[in-house]
Symmetry: C2
Amino acid sequence: MPSYTAPTKDLHFVLHDLLQVSASDVPGYGDLEADFTSAVIEEAAKLAQDVLAPLNAVGDSQGCRLENGVVYTPEGFKAAFEQIKAGGWNGLDIPEDFGGQNLPYLMGSAVGEIFVSANMALNMYQGLTHGAISAILAHGSDDQKATYLPKMVALDWTGTMNLTEPHCGTDLGMMRTKAEPSGDGSYKITGQKIFISAGDHDMAENVIHLVLAKAPGGGEGTKGISLFIVPKFMVNEDGSLGARNAVSVGKIEEKMGIHGNSTCVMNYDGATGYLIGELHKGMRAMFTMMNEARIGVGLQGYAQAAVAYENALAYAVDRLQGRDVTGVKNPDGPADPLIVHPDIRRMLMDQKSFVEGARAFTLWGASLIDRAHRMGDKDADGLISLLTPVIKGFLTDKGFEMCVQSQQVYGGHGYIEEWGMSQFARDARIAMIYEGANGVQALDLVGRKLAQDGGKHVMAFFELVKTFLKENEGDARLEGFLVPLKAASKDLQAAGMYFMERGMKSPNDALSGSSDFMHLFGHVCLGLMWARMAKAAYAALDGGASDRDFLDAKIATGRYYMARQLPATAMHLARIQSGGDTVMALGAEQF
Amino acid sequence: MPSYTAPTKDLHFVLHDLLQVSASDVPGYGDLEADFTSAVIEEAAKLAQDVLAPLNAVGDSQGCRLENGVVYTPEGFKAAFEQIKAGGWNGLDIPEDFGGQNLPYLMGSAVGEIFVSANMALNMYQGLTHGAISAILAHGSDDQKATYLPKMVALDWTGTMNLTEPHCGTDLGMMRTKAEPSGDGSYKITGQKIFISAGDHDMAENVIHLVLAKAPGGGEGTKGISLFIVPKFMVNEDGSLGARNAVSVGKIEEKMGIHGNSTCVMNYDGATGYLIGELHKGMRAMFTMMNEARIGVGLQGYAQAAVAYENALAYAVDRLQGRDVTGVKNPDGPADPLIVHPDIRRMLMDQKSFVEGARAFTLWGASLIDRAHRMGDKDADGLISLLTPVIKGFLTDKGFEMCVQSQQVYGGHGYIEEWGMSQFARDARIAMIYEGANGVQALDLVGRKLAQDGGKHVMAFFELVKTFLKENEGDARLEGFLVPLKAASKDLQAAGMYFMERGMKSPNDALSGSSDFMHLFGHVCLGLMWARMAKAAYAALDGGASDRDFLDAKIATGRYYMARQLPATAMHLARIQSGGDTVMALGAEQF
């Protein structure tokens, strides 16, 4: 069975060496002294390692079951969930007014990685609740906030997002779920929603569904959509629970992975719902949840890769097979450990350099969100809006790929469920699909975000890269970072230029390259992160830091990423510049 | 549930337009007239579509079970297996002396693709038997051939390969299974073997295990290994079955996929075994099975991608979601079909161009095997020996990737087991691992095959490419093929040169690039196949062929591969040329 040890040192490095959080001007960051962040992270690590991780395989093998309308989670989930509640983890970055601790979103993300690595399926019950809280915080009335938030922050109640219907996922304009006014200010919600993560379960007293539905008078397509709060149990004036609402679980889906999370078909049969936000402006409200969720899903991508890598590494050190081609390394044993073999190294370094780069990227993104939310920084808001599809799409595509590679290190044992590596890959697979399949992320990036505010944010990103390159020009130690970063960034700019030229007159040319662009962008982001991390590591070494092995390894891992991963940008550019002709050449009947 | 329709037209194109089999000088190829091959393929297609494919999901959901020492296969498997037997499919390319039809290996491969696409897990019972037959044909005594082959060809008995033990897979020198001479010419085999595909089941009267074990006096490591025939039931002089041999199933493994195949732990407790081939030369004998098996596994890689693609295409045509950005295509419907969207097209074209290129590559490889076996052509033998790790490694890595992409076309539905796309990915995953994990294939390619016979075979491959380029120089219609093929081939040569320079003095530099080289090589092979197919398609068009849509699509699909996939070669070369320093930089304790 796999094990999990939280990457506390690496998180410390990103927070304090790379992002230098406690010196930042973002309100609240001043409190994030190293002692404090370490204490929070250590506490999260303890819970994750001792309680959540051992239940990961249990969740996978048992799954959830529906009996007489009641959903049962796997053995041990409820007790573990109680510990998450007791620790107040769900309120970490929620305002104190609603029972939270008001720490920055950044800290929520750092802790989030640990919980997701330990047990992604279990963490989703909390993650979905967090997203619903954000939507109510942003769009709910004061009454709604008072009624729902304290209970949800405390995880006495959990939340869900209800978008998808059997015939529509991406194209929500086709939605059929209806909301009819009841005359008392509430609505009757009728329809079927599918793929509802954490749709129902036995770990909380109530489930607060956020449901998209069409209310009369809104017009066609997505314009007619509004967002509603539909509680599983009605909430009385005094906050106590009343009658069961007319919402029920149709079935639990059999999925490839995340078996520990109950993915439900939800049937709304005239269920009472309460409008949240403005009528017919439901899509906007939903996107509040969605944007946060997308970053959370990107985090899932690399967090699964992180735990998979950790186990692959342990196996590579432990498993004796074959001899080092340059000379025996374990003369007293029957063979050398796997890790002596270059191709095993290549796989481990791919994983390590991705995971550490992705961690830096995601936490930097989280710091941009704090900057936007806590300082009203519009530039930070624009930049993270641009980067969100990259975080979601690139990190989940690569995260899955790295889980598959971790599994590969195990050879035949990787294919046997008992060893747990299959689960990491199967669980990680969903992250490429939900909260907008990665093709939709690429479309969002190229079709919307790139030109947003006149292309201001992508220009700002290029400026960041340029500034870094300029500031460090001539630093011989960083040459192995600056040269590839410059080349990769040039590829990204050339691709952006291609889209600008073609986008309007030949949208198929641009959209045929959208996924390649997302990957190209992702590599440049990780390249930038690695260059910055190398600089930070050298600074720490120059400053006499004691953990020199760790810092040397950080730099060496970065060099690997630059040398072995950044060459992908030229390939993506070549594909993009080959245009849409070959992509669109066939008539539908010619396939 | 997914469906399957065999790609009869595409197989016809490869056999007759590309390979022009009936005009070939290989003995037996003259009989492969179009009418004949079509009849064979249609018959296989009927069985695959009507009988095997509908059982694929059943096999996945039910799996195999072990009860009181007896292995039961999923419902319907036995009846389907009877139909495979009745059709004589297992003997298709086996000499007539042993009940076969003596058709070329090429025909066995064409039919093999169809069976594997329809039901990979079920086909493995037959596939393993076929491998065991080959080993006995090549190394067995006349008595052994007479005793085992007719029954195995008829599938009354099936076969297995027993190599792996709990502590060793790749490194067979550590093997612990012992063979002690009994004094009567037979041996007593004692030990445990794991991951034994089709290890036991309820579909045949007997199971003939081919088992590697160490007999006394052979020395250390792989030198002491011999190959033994260990029947589940002893075989009497008259061919009837006798007592149960001391071999039993320890357990059936719980795997990520191919649940319909019983992957067994086999316990040998002094079981009676018969030496096959020379004492202490077991590895050589095993490689006879292994080489054939490796090509068969490469075939599995693309065959799973083929059926996954077919279903993704059907879904993309059927599912309505969003509108074509260049103008509504389905004005009477609520949305346009998925296939109008460029990023969906990109995925479908990736899959289509890979599958069709891989099919051509594999069948061309099969024709080299026929040339080697039927004509004693040493050059063909050397070339296919070089290409075998590429067929196995590249086609299974890419085949899995394409299955994952097919799944992605389905969005959320792709993650739900009911739709069947998860199974294709889970089943295809094993092909990257068994018969030598793909890292071992890459090592075989770079460490052994590249320099074999003084590098003669890789030079012959380059010559093939060069000749094609030269012969078609100036053909404007082929320019979109010749230019990228030339560039890709140059990258491959540069990589080969790098290995030659570094291989001896710095093996880590070479081995760090081995997987990239395997992929680089694979792309060049598929590029060559596409260039040849384009030429063949133009020739057919020029000759007035009636199915112009099909031929146009073939050319367009090839153009896609050249434009969108071949740019990967430069990336692989860059990675290779970055050497082993970044790969090997970390001390084992620095990870």
